[in-house]
């Protein structure tokens, strides 16, 4: 298999799908020449030209709203909002319009569109360029929310999005963009709502997604040296959420740590923990622990930033705590 970066696997999916389906177009800022701020659509503009790769003014509401109108009338937009933080200028369009259009009109219209934006913390990205908003979107019925962690999944899940009929929020973590991984040759898709066991283990389950997936893998390697066998599950899709795979794993390992970069308070970890509590509580030998950002604005100073955002060490620490059956952390 070839090795590709997450970003180039994403771009490859866009290119292949645009060749396959002329109704797909891209709308974004600084997209046609530069290929987006993370090179996520490098060379797409040169290949497909200004009709299908449309440079947009900085008008997030109109970008998302235009994508909605286009999706309702036969096109398949990929709307590139640059940074996930910039959704907030189009939140009405996302929450009140896109998410509800199928339901409120009784299924008369499809809404096949993908919104891509770069999420998460990178070095010194600061208060307004670092956020992980997937829990906000997950709370809104009508949106599919995906946050893959590998190049293979980035390509396969984008293809699934571009062949489906629902609006997809594609969370593309900045720090994953340059990460390399094997990508299968030829056409393939990855279904939504199926978690993937990245690493089998017997002592503890780590349920995670996006950037915390590779960090959890590193944590598992470190824990292995101490004889702790961690099973790492990449959820891949936030909505629909595959808690079943996590539950099956917990039945085996009896312990669960949930790791995401978004805030722990009110984050997806709370939802997953609650669902596991509801379904397989009797199997648990230790409290469920969550790893996530502390409840503060993300500062620009790396020293401060590190205090707030989780890393490999936090996962290791949480796993050690559940192995000892520690309740309070």
């Amino acid at each position: 298999m070839r090795e590709l970066t997450f970003a180039s696997a994403f771009a490859e999916a866009v290119r292949e799908e645009m060749e396959r389906d002329p109704s797909i177009f891209v709308l974004g800022t600084d997209i046609r020449i530069r290929g987006g701020h993370f090179g996520q659509l490098k060379d797409i503009g040169q290949t497909f030209g200004p009709k299908r790769v449309v440079d947009s003014p900085i008008s997030e509401a109109a970008m998302v709203g235009l994508s909605l109108g286009a999706a309702m009338t036969g096109l398949r937009p990929i709307c590139d909002l640059n940074f996930e933080d910039f959704y907030l200028g189009a939140m009405d369009e996302v929450v009140n319009q896109i998410a509800k259009v199928r339901y409120k009109f009784n299924g008369q219209f499809k809404c096949p569109l993908v919104i891509r934006a770069s999420s998460g913390v990178a070095r010194a990205t600061g208060p307004q360029h670092s956020q992980m908003l997937e829990a906000w979107f997950a709370h809104v019925p009508g949106l599919i929310v995906v946050a893959p962690s590998t190049a293979e999944d980035a390509k396969g899940m984008l293809k699934t999005a571009l062949r489906g009929d629902d609006p997809v929020i594609f969370s593309f973590h900045k720090m994953l963009g340059n990460m390399k991984g094997p990508v299968p040759d030829g056409d393939y898709t990855i279904p939504f709502g199926q978690a993937k066991v990245l690493r089998p283990g017997t002592d503890v389950t780590i349920a995670t997604y996006s950037i915390m997936a590779p960090k959890s893998l590193q944590a598992a390697e470190e824990l292995e040296k101490d004889g702790i066998s961690a099973e790492v599950i990449d959820l891949r899709t936030i909505v629909p959420l595959d808690v079943k795979t996590v539950a099956e794993s917990v039945k085996k390992t009896k312990r669960l740590v949930i790791a995401h970069e978004a805030y722990k308070f009110g984050g997806m970890g709370a939802e997953i923990a609650a669902q596991i509590g509801e379904s397989v509580f009797d199997y648990l030998d230790a409290p469920i622990l969550r790893v996530g950002s502390k409840h503060a604005v993300i500062p620009v100073s790396p020293v401060l930033q590190e205090q707030i955002t989780p890393g490999k060490a936090d996962v290791v620490e949480a796993v050690r705590a559940v192995m000892e059956g520690v309740a309070v952390r």
């Binding site: 177009f25 109109a62 199928r102 409120k104 009109f105 009784n106 299924g107 219209f109 009508g142 599919i144």
Partner: protein, 339 residues
């Protein structure tokens, strides 16, 4: 008013005789259909048969009818919360509209949307909307799609003067201008956003002036004169299909009823409303038709009876329609059942 479009062969808005008589009689009947629908919708609301909030468009009839008559049936339309007139003028069956107000299974949106959330894929109505300003962006996208697909189709967005103060308005007009979209932006300026007067809320004298900020012709029409609206919309459609350029139409109208049913209307006097109702668009056209000798009392009564029967049948249909099947409450959130 600024335009490059040829308009020499167009009729004169001041002279009803310069139009085809059947056409003008049809305009009158369409406005009457809307008026009668609205009056009966009000009645049904007060009787407790309607679920959800209702914003009547009495006074706005000429805007919807004038624009829709200038559009082709394949053109796309979006509208705001005050939108029954738009849905009717675009061609949806009144029975299904009334049923939607009553939350019935036979409603345009299967009882899921109500007054503010009606769409009709058959007529190209991409929805009226409960969020002020939202109609504007959706139509911009439909115009984009029509152009992208090379269709001879335009998209018209209806919105209020309140909507014209939303960012979506400005973002859309700019976007449509730079992308050369076949869009028509129709502002129904009824002078109020709930109780807030347009003179207070709006930093220009005429919303149409804002077109110039985006290199879009901004045209002011008498929104109580269906012929004036029609001609401007016809010109806008021509510009959209021939030049792929957007137009902003500001239709100066007036809301003869409260913001929504039950509005105490403390922000204006009864006398003011009475005075303004002298410019009722329906009676204005009726008189023009009578003066032209194209309408007599008998024909008028016949037309009224026709319309009353149609609306009564719609009310009857809606009242007798079944409620939605409760088991379908989770359907259509996603294309497949996810949860």
């Amino acid at each position: 008013m600024s335009t490059n479009t040829q308009s020499a062969q167009l009729p004169n808005k001041h002279d009803v005789r310069s139009f085809d008589s059947e056409f003008v009689l049809d305009l009158l009947k369409e406005m009457l259909r809307i008026r009668e629908f609205e009056l009966r919708a009000e009645e049904q609301t007060l009787a407790g048969n309607v679920v959800g909030g209702v914003h009547l468009a009495i006074g706005h009839e000429a805007v919807a009818v004038g624009v829709m008559k200038a559009l082709k049936s394949e053109d796309y339309v979006t509208g705001p919360h005050r939108g029954h007139h738009i849905v009717i003028a675009k061609g949806s069956d009144m029975k299904n509209i009334m049923a939607e107000l009553m939350g019935k299974a036979t409603g345009l949106s299967g009882g899921r949307g109500g007054s503010m959330h009606m769409a009709d894929v058959e007529t190209g109505l991409l929805g009226v909307n409960g969020i002020v300003g939202a109609s504007i962006v959706v139509a911009t996208g439909a115009a984009f799609s029509a152009k992208y697909l090379g269709q001879d189709r335009v998209a018209a967005a209806f919105f209020g003067d309140g909507g014209a103060n939303k960012g979506q308005f400005h973002e859309s007009l700019n976007m449509a201008s730079i992308l050369d979209l076949p869009a028509i932006y129709v502002c129904e300026n009824n002078e109020f956003a709930v109780e807030t007067a347009v003179s207070y809320s709006t930093g220009v004298d005429h919303i149409a002036e804002r077109g110039s900020s985006y290199r879009i012709p901004g045209i002011i029409v008498d929104g109580l004169d269906v012929l004036d609206v029609y001609l401007a919309a016809k010109e806008a459609r021509l510009r959209a299909v021939q030049e792929s350029r957007p137009t902003l139409i500001e239709a100066k109208t007036y809301r003869f009823k409260g913001h929504s049913i039950g509005d105490k209307e403390n922000y204006r006097t009864k006398e003011e409303v009475q005075e303004r109702m002298k410019s009722d668009p329906i009676f204005k056209l009726k008189h023009q038709l009578e003066d032209a000798g194209w309408l007599n009392e008998e024909q008028w009564n016949e037309m009224k009876l026709d319309v009353e029967n149609e609306v009564a049948a719609a009310v009857d249909f809606a009242l007798r329609s079944p409620l939605p099947d409760a088991a379908t409450a989770l359907r259509h959130v996603y294309s497949k059942e996810v949860f």
